[in-house]
């Protein structure tokens, strides 16, 4: 599954080996946004082997926090039953808000490997648009 970023939703890629979410997340309708993502995860993410999750969010609103919580919970359950999940939470080094958010999600992770990765701030623009 691959979904291009819109003004209010991030770029999303989900395969049988990896998942990548990059951009901003404050969708007009959180259910309409999250339902296909969660359903793709359920059909594509395997039960065993290894899985890589790359997150790079610049901003998300409070309604999207619930989606992210469910998203990580999905992987936590997969990891608890045998999938080796590695999650990278990429945040810009000067962005305390996204660092704190990553720390809070990391706290709930027991079976997934969750790493906070500080990235250099690009000199201009809002990062790559893909």
């Amino acid at each position: 599954m691959e979904q291009a970023a819109t003004q209010r939703t991030p770029h999303i890629e989900i395969s049988g080996a990896a998942c990548r979410i990059v951009g901003e997340c404050y969708p007009e309708n959180i259910q309409e946004f999250s339902a296909p993502v969660m359903s793709s995860l359920r059909s594509l993410v395997p039960d065993s082997g290894a899985y890589q999750v790359e997150m790079e969010l610049f901003y998300f609103n409070s309604s999207s926090a619930k989606f992210l919580f469910d998203f990580f919970e999905f992987f936590e359950e997969k990891a608890a039953s045998g999938l080796a999940v590695k999650i990278n939470w990429n945040y810009r080094l000067d962005d305390d808000t996204m660092l704190e958010a990553g720390e809070d999600f990391a706290e709930d992770m027991e079976s997934c490997e969750f790493e906070l990765v500080g990235v250099e701030v690009p000199s201009e623009g809002e990062g790559e648009a893909e």
Binding site: Q7, E28, S62, D95, T97, D104
Partner: protein
């Protein structure tokens, strides 16, 4: 002859250093349309991207509060309110929102905001996390996290529920710098 009010409106907005103001029915579609101009205004008047992002974050939560909780306009079902971003004397930002509310929700709203106004950053962070785990409270269309999110992004906020001839009106002022 030109109506004085028009000139006064202009002077008032200029004196308040208002970057953006909208008053009327608000929908998610409209929020999408106004997001870009709001951001552009913010990036022109604020070089610190973190501050601009916090202001924008508070603005989005305020707008979605109006969309979800303001007393609905009978004909379109849209929430009606006023939302504005202005520059303060110390070159910080004031983000304001005003909307009519249902009188039955008044007590709960007052209690929620009073509780939030007494929490420090650490307590707010914990509250946000706990709420995320426990799910939305009854009657909430969002995750019930909006006001906590706003409280975390502002230096301080003020609120009031004013009585008008058309019922209670909720006023929120958040300061970011």
């Amino acid at each position: 002859m030109i109506n004085d009010e028009t000139l006064e409106l202009h002077k008032f907005m200029q004196a308040r250093r208002t970057l953006f103001c909208y008053s009327g029915p608000l929908s998610e579609d409209l929020l999408t349309s106004i997001s870009n101009p709001v951001r552009q205004q913010l990036s022109e008047s604020e070089s610190d991207e973190g501050v601009a992002k916090r202001v924008f974050g508070v603005f989005v939560e305020q707008a979605q509060n109006i969309i979800r909780y303001a007393t609905l306009r009978a004909d379109t079902g849209e929430g009606v309110g006023t939302i504005a971003i202005s520059v303060t004397e110390n070159d910080g930002f004031l983000i304001e929102a005003v909307n009519a509310i249902d009188s039955t929700k008044r007590t709960a709203l007052e209690a929620t905001l009073l509780e939030l106004s007494m929490k420090d950053a650490k307590e707010l962070r914990k509250m946000y996390k706990d709420r995320l785990r426990s799910g939305p409270p009854e009657g909430s269309q969002g995750a019930g996290l909006g006001f906590i999110e706003m409280a975390r992004r502002v230096q301080r906020f003020e609120f009031e529920i004013a009585d008008t001839e058309n019922g209670p009106v909720f006023v929120y002022r958040g300061y970011v710098s």
